[in-house]
Symmetry: C2
Subunit: 81 residues, 2 copies
Amino acid sequence: MRKVRVYITLKQGVLDPEGKAIQTSLHSLDYPEVEDVRVGKYIELQVKEGADLKGRVAQMCEQLLANPVIEDYQIELEGAR
Amino acid sequence: MRKVRVYITLKQGVLDPEGKAIQTSLHSLDYPEVEDVRVGKYIELQVKEGADLKGRVAQMCEQLLANPVIEDYQIELEGAR
């Protein structure tokens, strides 16, 4: 079993209204130092060991986890345990 | 300016219906090796340098970004740039 972490972020240039809303709220909560907020997803998978694990997770991202038109993804495999 | 990464995850024991839905979808897309999926949030902040930057971001998490009753958060500061 291996833990795989997937980070999904909006591509540069794609508007992030949720991030903007958070930024506005942070300003009104008296955190004026926050200059930009981008919101993404963080997905933790527990995957059985197998051939080309990272490649298969990349396929999962393309097919289901991310929207490759507007999102980037990054995959991190944790040491086996 | 400093980039701060915040990872928000559900606490252990808190049900994650979104994760379960993704797992079921992955199984029907022929990825039976996926044994568990947990979904969290990934937030990137650009914050002006200042005193106790990490402490202030922790306060933002407690007040707005996370729900500390059911969620954990982890803060990562990137090198200044």
